[in-house]
Symmetry: C2
Subunit: 199 residues, 2 copies
DNA sequence: ACGCCGATGACAGTCGCTGCCATCAAGCCT
DNA sequence: AGGCTTGATGGCAGCGACTGTCATCGGCGT
């Protein structure tokens, strides 16, 4: 595998997390990350497309956990319940690494570039959820809308989970957010094409 | 104002749109944009924070149009109807510049960097909507969730509007998307804490 | 022992982006 | 008219992210 020590990729991820936390993302150069990992800058870019991507190594596993329940759900299960199952599974996965998730989120929150990348990753997940729903017979644009709404539900629950002092149950927060979604969408009046909004 | 010709900012925006369309975003350098606008690279970065931002000059106006109806809505109006009014106003604004919107969206769709920036802009709008809802008494995390759901509704309608051959009514598409949202969230069963997803 | 191959190092180069200072144009004051 | 101030611009040097290219090293099979 590697020329000397094994798991070059993992060492780069660890070095990046440590340096981003210590000096901040923008004050850390790729060369410094590589040096800390015992590698060169050029090798960093062979393992990660750019300076941001090193924080998203677990995105693949997360995606699988999120999608599996949606794909596996029986046909009779309502779309929102299939999505809820996926969100719950994803939440359980993160709950096993709460400290890691918090540190990672603190880093991302400190940099606009990283927030943009995270939004892109979440949008990609929304698209994958939409694909899974289409496979279940849901048409566009309902499938895409549902995928994005599911991600919005996840984000709302995730923020509470990260912010909460106590070790609250993440899947339960997902369930709460879903309840709020239903309150929002369900308690409304039929919509005229143009609403009287002022005067 | 300017040293020679007026509206340096506008000239840079036009030059960027033209070059991004002609050779693609990644094959266009900032120096080329500046040269086409009769300016220098250094001046480009005085008007725009980075190479992406030059495509988002109208974001401020769009934000105002989106937010105004939400802020101005009477207290009795349900949150989702206030959001619907804002989305409708924003849609009307874009409908007046359909060709421009299409060209701009084609550019954004061609570059991952630009898609990330657009997602960040949309997320910022979702946050602003959440702020407006909080001013109306909606608590967190319902306000943030509602803001993001509203943006998801907008995106679903926007994609249809851009893709459609005919000149369909954008505000009507917004209304359709809202209907799909209600179908998604309203037609669900109560949620058990753990769902049977497999086996 | 030899050769193959994937991973790494080394180097040069482009481009996005910033700091610093000089320069120019226009308005204002005397 | 002449000089001063102010805001926008040009020019230049430099850093850091990222890429292409080639040499090199280590492990592996034969």
């Amino acid at each position: 595998m590697g020329r000397w020590e094994p798991d070059a990729r993992g060492r780069l991820e660890e070095a990046a997390m440590a340096l981003y936390s210590l000096r901040g993302y923008e004050n850390t150069t790729v060369a410094e990350i590589a040096e800390r990992a015992g590698l060169t800058e050029r090798t960093f870019f062979r393992h990660f497309a750019d300076k941001r991507e090193v924080l998203f190594g677990a995105a693949g596993t997360f995606r699988e956990r999120l999608l599996a329940p949606v794909v596996a759900a029986a046909d009779e299960v309502a779309p929102i319940d299939a999505l809820a199952a996926g969100l719950g599974a994803a939440a359980e996965m993160l709950q096993e690494r709460r400290d890691f998730s918090r540190q990672r989120q603190a880093i991302i929150a400190s940099s606009g570039e990283l927030q943009e990348r995270e939004l892109a990753k979440l949008a990609s997940l929304a698209g994958a959820l939409a694909d899974a729903l289409r496979a279940r017979g849901i048409q566009e644009p309902a499938a895409s809308l549902a995928g994005e709404v599911a991600i919005a539900v996840f984000r709302a629950a995730f923020e509470r989970w990260i912010a909460d002092e106590d070790d609250v149950d993440f899947p339960q927060l997902i369930s709460d957010s879903l309840g709020q979604l239903k309150a929002l969408a369900g308690g409304a009046t039929p919509r005229p094409k143009t609403l009287p909004v002022s005067g």
